[in-house]
């Protein structure tokens, strides 16, 4: 191993930390803005009449969208604390390392989701440009009926 910063106790102590729940009201307009931003013409995400006659009966969220904002206060509050601790430990630069999500039920406009986030793990690895840290945040989304709709994992890279 080359010399470089190491994970501090302050960073390690954050593994397992949980966020305040985020409440997400899934709006038709927010879904359409998202579809517009990625330039996705799929009528299931923007045409109410079309969606009504589909098997979903309502506008649904495209894969990867679980309501606005994608980055929300509870989870961001949690990851901000980790970022701050990592910056102090010598990893000030941030990159979005990737995303993984598993969908159990469609998300329809009008749904209200509650999102619970947790720091699942923080690890460090030797990269091409020195040491990097990987923070895995797991978020579970539950709808207004209490049904699990999505489980997501995000990787934040700090170096």
């Amino acid at each position: 191993m080359t010399q470089g910063p190491a994970l501090t106790d302050e960073v390690r102590a954050m593994i397992g930390a949980t966020s305040e729940p985020d409440i997400l009201e899934v709006e038709r307009g927010a879904i359409r803005r998202y579809a517009d931003a990625i330039e996705d013409p799929n009528p299931l995400f923007r045409d109410v009449e079309h969606a009504r006659n589909s098997r979903y009966g309502e506008i649904i969220c495209p894969p990867g969208f679980f309501g606005w904002p994608v980055k929300r206060s509870g989870r961001m509050g949690l990851t901000a604390k980790v970022r701050e601790a990592l910056a102090k430990a010598g990893y000030p630069r941030l990159l979005d390392g990737g995303v993984e999500y598993e969908c159990f039920l469609p998300i329809r406009a009008g749904d209200t989701l509650t999102a619970y986030s947790k720091i699942a793990d923080i690890t460090e690895r030797e990269g091409k440009t020195g040491k990097m840290t990987f923070t895995i945040t797991e978020t579970t989304y539950v709808n207004q009926n209490g049904d699990l709709v999505v489980k997501a994992r995000g990787t934040m890279i700090c170096r």
């Binding site: 990625i38 009528p43 990867g64 995303v99 990787t155």
Partner: protein
């Protein structure tokens, strides 16, 4: 919309129709607003360069969402995107064309569902895979 694809139409090793994206700085701003991700490296060139980047870069999550579109286009209204995993490995820049691609790796029936697994990725004009990943979808069956 393309016509509905069925489980029986799919073979392991086949590529699915690709999706080309010409990302502009304007699209990055639209994405920032639509997603709520206002990190300045995606729209403020001076800020991006001050952090050591050559210029503004495309959001990793925007690339993941393009791959989501690739999949929802392919599975159609009767299919379902069940699982997506994407690594944001390389940087992409506005002004360069990005192509989203997918290839079937496996198909099987599980608990009555017709499941197809895929390798998915975004590719830059030099043929480099900047966001590789995998996906699991369910398709309708003619059976």
């Amino acid at each position: 919309m393309a016509k509905q694809v069925y489980y029986e139409d799919v073979e392991e090793g086949m590529e699915i129709p690709s999706l080309a994206k010409d990302v502009t700085t304007q699209q990055l701003v639209k994405w920032a607003g639509a997603s709520g991700d206002y990190y300045q490296i995606h729209y403020d060139k001076d800020f991006a360069q001050a952090t050591g980047l050559p210029g503004v870069i495309v959001h990793g999550r925007l690339k993941s969402s393009f791959l989501g579109q690739l999949l929802s286009d392919w599975v159609g209204e009767e299919g379902m995107v069940k699982k997506v995993s994407v690594q944001h490995r390389g940087m992409d820049f506005p002004g360069e064309q990005m192509t989203c691609k997918g290839k079937v790796t496996k198909k099987h029936v599980q608990d009555g569902e017709h499941i197809v697994e895929l390798e998915i990725w975004t590719e830059n004009p030099r043929g480099e895979r900047t966001a590789p990943g995998s996906a699991v979808v369910a398709l309708p069956s003619r059976g």
